[in-house]
C-alpha cells in the first residue's frame, strides 16, 4: 500500500512533465500534420537555459529562491519560445508545400542539430543543479516504508494543472485559440477568411515551446541533473503519450502524459526498472495496433 501511494505520487509528477511536452507534439500535429521531432530537444534546450539562468542569477547575487525561480521561468519561456519559433521558421516553413516526408526529415535533422549544438557548447557531461526547493511532507510512516510528498512534486503538479487550465481556456475561448482550431481543421479555408496562417502556425510553435520550457525547468528541479541527451528520451516518451491519448487531441495529450508517467513508475516499482522504457513503448505498439486513433482521438472521417 505504501509503495503504491508513493509510486502514484511519483507517477503523477513524471506524467505532468510528459503531458506538458506532449501538448507541443499534438498541437503541431493537429495544425500542420507533422511530428516535430525536434520538440524533445527544444525541451532539453530549455533545461539548459534554465540552468544557465539560475547560475547567472546566483552570480548576480539574486539568491532568494522564489524570485530566482520566477525570473528563470520568464527567461526560459521567452528564450525557448524563440527556439521553437526559429525551428519552424528555418526548418519547416520553407518545406510547407513540399512532399509530406520532407518536413519530417528536416525535423529529425533539427533534432540532431540542437543536440549537437548543446553537446559542443555545454559539454557532454551531466550538469548538476543543487536542490533549490527542499522539504516536503511525510504522508505515511510505517516500519518498512515512508511515503513522502516533496515540495518540488507539489510545485510540479500544481503548476501543470494551472498551465493546462490556462492553455485550455486560451484554445476554447480566445480569438487566437479559435484561429488555431480553424487552422487545425482547414488551413485553406482559414486563409480564405483572412486568418494569417503563417502567424498562427508560428504561435503554435511558440506556445508549444513555452510549455516545454516549463517542463524543462521542472525536469531540472526534480532530477537535479541534465545532459544534452534528455530531450531524446523525454521527447519520445511525450510523443508516445500524445499518440496514446490520441494525436491531435489536447485533453488526450494531457491524459496520455499522465498514463505514461504512471505506467513507467509502476513498472519500475513492481517489475524492473531496467525495462521501464520497454513497458512504455510496448504500450505505444499495443495502442497503435488496437486503438490507432488513441484514447481520445477521432477517426479521420469528415462529412463532405
Amino acid at each position: 500500500m505504501e509503495v503504491f501511494v508513493q509510486q502514484l505520487i511519483n507517477g503523477v509528477t513524471l506524467g505532468s512533465i510528459y503531458g506538458l511536452i506532449a501538448i507541443g507534439y499534438t498541437m503541431v500535429y493537429g495544425i500542420i500534420g507533422m511530428i516535430n521531432f525536434a520538440h524533445g530537444d527544444v525541451f532539453m534546450v530549455s533545461a539548459f537555459i534554465a540552468l544557465i539562468a539560475f547560475l547567472t542569477l546566483v552570480a548576480l547575487g539574486i539568491t532568494a529562491v522564489p524570485l530566482a525561480l520566477f525570473l528563470v521561468v520568464l527567461i526560459a519561456m521567452a528564450l525557448t519560445s524563440l527556439y521553437g519559433w526559429a525551428v519552424e521558421r528555418v526548418a519547416y516553413r520553407p518545406l510547407r508545400r513540399s512532399f509530406r516526408l520532407a518536413p519530417l526529415i528536416s525535423a529529425i535533422g533539427m533534432s540532431i542539430v540542437l543536440q549537437n549544438f548543446v553537446q559542443i557548447a555545454q559539454g557532454a557531461r551531466v550538469k548538476p543543479l543543487p536542490p533549490l526547493i527542499g522539504g516536503g511532507y511525510t504522508l505515511i510512516e510505517s516500519d518498512t516504508f515512508v511515503v513522502r510528498l516533496s515540495n518540488v512534486q507539489i510545485l510540479v503538479v500544481v503548476t501543470t494543472i494551472a498551465l493546462m487550465a490556462l492553455f485550455s481556456w486560451v484554445i476554447a475561448r480566445t480569438r487566437l485559440g479559435r484561429d488555431m482550431r480553424a487552422c487545425e481543421q482547414d488551413l485553406k479555408m482559414a486563409s480564405l477568411i483572412g486568418i494569417d496562417v503563417d502567424r498562427t502556425i508560428s504561435l503554435t510553435f511558440v506556445i508549444g515551446a513555452a510549455l516545454a520550457a516549463v517542463a524543462g525547468i521542472m525536469n531540472l528541479l526534480y532530477y537535479g541533473v541534465i545532459d544534452f541527451y534528455i530531450g531524446f528520451v523525454a521527447g519520445v516518451k511525450a510523443f508516445t503519450a500524445a499518440v496514446l491519448g490520441g494525436i491531435g487531441s489536447l485533453p488526450g495529450a494531457m491524459l496520455g502524459g499522465l498514463l505514461i508517467g504512471l505506467i513507467e513508475t509502476f513498472w519500475s516499482a513492481y517489475f524492473s526498472i531496467e525495462y521501464k522504457d520497454v513497458a512504455a513503448f510496448s504500450i505505444l505498439v499495443i495502442v497503435l495496433i488496437f486503438l490507432p486513433t488513441g484514447i481520445l482521438g477521432r477517426p479521420e472521417i469528415e462529412k463532405v
Binding site: R178, D179, S191, I193, G194
Partner: protein
C-alpha cells in the same frame, strides 16, 4: 435606400469594374488550368460563370484569392493589383468566398463558424450582422450551438454563405451553391442571393453548373470551356444562344 443604376442591362456600366481579371493563366504543376481568362465584375452586379465540370471555374475562384497564384496576367480589385498578394491579405479587402465543397469548420459550432467569418470585419458590426444572417437563413438560428459537421448539406451551404457574409464583403464569390441540394433548397438559396443583391447592392460572382438557375439570377454571364471564356453577354442573351441551350440547358430545366 438610394436608387442605384440599373445594371440589369446588356452593356456593362462605364465605371471601372470592381473586379477585373486580365489574361490570367493558371497552372497546376505543368498542367494548364486557365488559358488566359478575361472577365469583369462591376459593383452591384450578379455575374455568373457557367461551364461543365473541370472547365476551370473553381480554379478561377481560387486564383482570384491567389491560391493557386496566376502565372501570367493580373487580377485587379478596385483597380489595385492583387495578383501577388497573400490569400489572407486579399480576404482583408472584403472579398469573401463560399468555396467549392463548402469547407465548413465541422468540429466547431455554427456560431463559431460565423464568428470566424467575421475575422476581418469590425467587431462593432458583429451583433447586427449576425442577426441579419440569421434572419436570412432562419435554419441556422435553430442550430447555432450545434457543430457544423452535423448540419445537412443545405444547411452547410447556408452556413458557408452566412460565414462569407459576416466578412461584410464588397465582393462575394459563390462556388456552386446549388451543388447536391434539393431543388427547393436551391430556390431558397438563390432567392437569398437575389435579396442581398437587390436590398444591399451586394456584388456577387457566382460559379455554377446549374446554368439555367444561374442565368435566371444573374445580370450577366460568362461561359467557360476548357480554361477559356468562350461566350459572354447579358443573361438573357446567353439564355437564348443556341450553343448555350444545347450544351447547358437542354434537359436541365427543372
Amino acid at each position: 435606400m438610394a436608387t442605384a443604376p440599373d445594371t440589369r442591362t446588356a452593356s456593362a456600366p462605364a465605371r471601372a469594374p470592381l473586379l477585373s481579371v486580365r489574361g490570367v493563366k493558371t497552372y497546376y504543376g505543368n498542367i494548364v488550368a486557365l488559358r488566359g481568362v478575361d472577365l469583369d465584375v462591376h459593383e452591384g452586379e450578379i455575374v455568373t460563370l457557367i461551364g461543365a465540370n473541370g472547365a476551370g471555374k473553381s480554379t478561377l475562384m481560387m486564383t482570384i484569392f491567389g491560391d493557386p497564384r496566376a502565372r501570367e496576367g493580373t487580377v485587379l480589385f478596385e483597380g489595385r493589383d492583387i495578383t501577388r498578394m497573400p490569400t489572407n491579405e486579399i480576404a482583408k479587402l472584403h472579398i469573401a468566398q463560399a468555396p467549392e465543397g463548402r469547407r465548413i469548420f465541422g468540429r466547431m459550432t455554427v456560431l463559431e463558424n460565423l464568428q470566424l467569418g467575421a475575422s476581418i470585419a469590425d467587431p462593432a458590426f458583429f451583433a447586427a450582422d449576425l442577426e441579419r444572417v440569421l434572419t436570412l437563413f432562419p435554419r441556422l438560428k435553430e442550430r447555432l450551438h450545434q457543430r457544423g459537421g452535423t448540419l445537412s448539406g443545405g444547411e452547410q451551404q447556408m452556413l458557408a454563405i452566412g460565414r462569407a457574409l459576416l466578412a461584410r464583403p464588397r465582393l462575394l464569390l459563390l462556388d456552386e451553391p446549388s451543388l447536391g441540394l434539393a431543388p427547393l433548397l436551391v430556390r431558397q438559396i438563390f432567392a437569398a442571393i437575389r435579396e442581398l443583391n437587390e436590398r444591399e447592392k451586394l456584388t456577387v460572382f457566382l460559379v455554377e453548373q446549374n446554368a439555367f438557375h444561374a442565368l435566371k439570377l444573374a445580370h450577366r454571364g460568362y461561359v467557360m470551356v476548357n480554361g477559356e471564356i468562350t461566350l459572354s453577354g447579358s443573361s438573357r442573351e446567353l439564355l437564348n444562344r443556341p450553343e448555350v441551350r444545347a450544351a447547358y440547358l437542354e434537359g436541365g430545366r427543372h
